[in-house]
Symmetry: C2
Subunit: 455 residues, 2 copies
């Protein structure tokens, strides 16, 4: 049960075989590998070698490898192929959902050219239809390849049809049963079909119990598809139109990829990166993703400077007030990010809705009271021991308590409000909420300071 590991030694072996032009060895080695592994080898050698390797592959395997390459490598490969070659060598050999992803990476002009070169008009029109579905919907995730039988067919006829359809579908999880109008009536699992052992002359209708089958429509949000498949532990879900006509299916592997991308996007957004970038992207791409948030932060910083400038006289009175500016700002930011992260996740998994916002706020007040009291008292103890200005010690601790309370409430309230107005609440975390808390927190700090020093 040896599993080929694509490591540096393996890639070196391939490189050496290429140098001595040992095409026999290369062909047989590549034929044994999974497309994902071949793609990994190709990502590990330089572009010219990768192209030579690609030319050694059979059309079908080559097409599958193409889909597994890193997006920037694939772009380079596709630019070397004519529209006709892309249509005939690649598109014809991959599932419609992959084909749509690949077409989406081409310019509009090239996309149209490639589609015009697809021989089967039905295949071409399927693709055009799929390309029309909006991103992040079930339509954009689905493939039209599936195995379906008519409810009135005999088992013999159904098996013949399934065998033919099965050749084109990589993973057959389930056989869909439809009527003459292609309306989805239910499904048959292979397990059931295999174990039922009915006469080959009986019809599918005899074998199959009409059951409630979970399905989605093309405009169902992708998030909703993920939730359904997770909740009911599905590996595949059918897509039907409003009239119940079977259009396609979404498989769990595509849902897993979607989940991963979403998680990475959320993480990036929470870290103040405005688009999905990877560490091996160009300096230009990385800068473009990061600069917008930094400029927002800069504007925030300038606003905060204006707030503090209102209290210049106070700083002249006791410059020590400046010592705790970063502490007040940072603690406000930390509490705000914590609160908003909990709300953002609660909104995502729907444990928070409009009916329990008040309860959520009351709970946040409780948490903030405890955290604020503990932090303020710890800081007061420290300052009473090590600082000689009593007014400063009281100011800092009282301000810290207020800041933790306010940041907690804002961190809870803002994402809920954004969500209410259909803005992605994840925007609330990151620089935005931090800046707002800086402004409010320092305002409170100096206001309390003014009061304390006047006592």
């Amino acid at each position: 049960m040896a599993q080929t590991k694509i490591n540096k030694d393996f890639i070196l072996t391939v490189k050496l075989a290429m140098e001595r032009m040992d095409l026999g060895f290369l062909r047989s080695t590549l034929a044994d590998l999974h497309p994902a592994d071949i793609a990994e080898v190709m990502d590990g050698v330089d572009m010219d070698d990768a192209k030579s390797l690609y030319r050694l592959l059979e059309d079908e395997l080559a097409a599958e490898v193409m889909m597994e390459l890193e997006e920037d490598v694939r772009e380079e490969f596709l630019s070397a192929l004519s529209s006709k070659e892309i249509a005939e060598q690649v598109i014809e050999n991959i599932d419609t959902d992959d084909a749509v992803d690949l077409l989406g990476e081409l310019s509009d002009e090239k996309k149209a050219e490639v589609i015009s070169h697809i021989e089967d008009p039905e295949h071409a029109s399927d693709l055009v239809q799929l390309l029309n579905y909006e991103e992040d919907t079930a339509g954009a995730l689905m493939a039209t390849e599936l195995v379906k039988v008519n409810v009135d067919w005999t088992v013999t006829r159904a098996v013949r049809a399934m065998r033919k359809q099965g050749e084109e579908v990589d993973e057959v999880y389930t056989v869909y049963v439809v009527d003459d109008h292609e309306t989805l009536l239910g499904s048959l699992s292979f397990k059931r079909l295999f174990f039922s052992a009915s006469s080959m002359q009986s019809t599918i209708r005899d074998l199959f119990e009409a059951q409630e089958l979970r399905s989605v429509t093309p405009d169902t949000p992708a998030e909703e598809v993920v939730k359904l498949m997770k909740k009911y532990d599905l590996v595949v879900i059918p897509v039907v139109n409003e009239a119940g006509r079977l259009l396609g299916r979404i498989t769990i592997d595509d849902v897993v990829d979607y989940m991963q991308e979403e998680a990475e996007r959320d993480y990036a957004m929470a870290s103040g990166i405005s688009q999905k970038v990877e560490s091996d992207d160009s300096v230009w791409l990385l800068t473009r993703a990061r600069l917008p948030w930094l400029i927002i932060g800069l504007v925030g910083g300038v606003l905060v400077a204006q707030v503090i400038s209102l209290y210049e006289h106070q700083l002249q009175l006791d410059p020590k007030l400046a010592f705790f500016i970063p502490l007040i700002a940072a603690m406000g930011g930390n509490v705000g990010v914590q609160s908003s992260a909990i709300v953002v996740q609660g909104l995502a998994n729907q444990s928070i809705d409009l009916s329990n916002i008040l309860g959520r706020l009351v709970k946040e007040i409780g948490v903030a009271l405890v955290n604020g009291a503990v932090c303020a008292l710890l800081l007061l103890a420290f300052n009473l021991l090590f600082s000689d200005t009593l007014a400063l010690s009281y100011t800092v601790s009282l301000a810290l308590f207020c800041v933790i309370m306010i940041a907690g409430l804002f961190g809870t309230f803002i994402p809920i409000a954004l969500n209410r107005f259909n803005v992605d609440p994840a925007l609330a975390t990151g620089p935005f909420i931090t800046t707002l808390n800086d402004i409010l927190g320092l305002f409170i700090y100096f206001w309390i300071g003014q009061f304390m020093y006047a006592l």
Copy 2:
């Protein structure tokens, strides 16, 4: 194809039926629902009603519903059952992987009691074995339920065995083929078995091609399992011991749940929350998860105060220097979090390794140069227009440029270093890196200020 939606109306209908004690209606309604939906209804009514509903369910369905409940609700339910009842009504009716999760939620004492009440000694020893696997490994994710046939069996015998085993396994994705020593030789898909149409007297060996089957061992890290299943688009992967003996299987639904939990944990950690909490957890739990990071932030803030106190004379000279303290601190924090987030994701998907650290640092310097220059010049333009202290304007912009450079390098370097010493690099983001950047950034700011004002 009506899909029952669990909404407020539906829950109200259930509540009303409970008030008028309409058990017939309740039983038939619940019987039509998926266990996950029943659990959702039970989460939507109060605890006493939930318990009444639970008592209406057949043992097997009740056990499945139990696994779908929220963890705190399940805890309450389990505490109402005796160890014997848990063993006989729940454990016997769920898969081993779920049983292990459930046992893990019990106290050690109760766990041992429950296991002692399991009738089948083989089942009990399977569970004890599974409980021994470490968290976040393949062993902890796997179930021992699977469908396997001996390679020397006739098709007739194999089908009989499969039918029997198939009753206990919810989703049969694949049939494993083993030899007399239970060594995994390969697999047969139902699709293949169904379409092969060989004589029922031929053996499995005739039907099946020994092929390279991807498998993992119980100590394979869960992360590695996720990567394999994602890379090769698997819905199930077998678990074998070192000798190749088949121990169990891991299904994609458990991997999807694991991925989701990991993503939530990473997001929480990046937001300064030390353990997985949900918005409906108690104030005490929420406080305990959040206070540790706040205290770290507090200590950081006190350290920053010490750094600034070194420059009290400078602040006395020009209190305006204090205006830009939050800006410098916040920008250092923002840049640090951005850089470290990109590195943390790169380490997670292995696009960063020891061989390209230098390249990564050079690229970060490039990004920081551009971002630093743009931000510093924008701020300089603003200050030259609106501020009357030339020394302050130059100080702030020069310090901002340096801080962006240094925060970028630290944000890149620290997670790589943590990873090198096997500490989770995600720790680097959040309050830790922010505090470090505050200290360094303000040190640079006042140091440059001292120099500029002396000119």
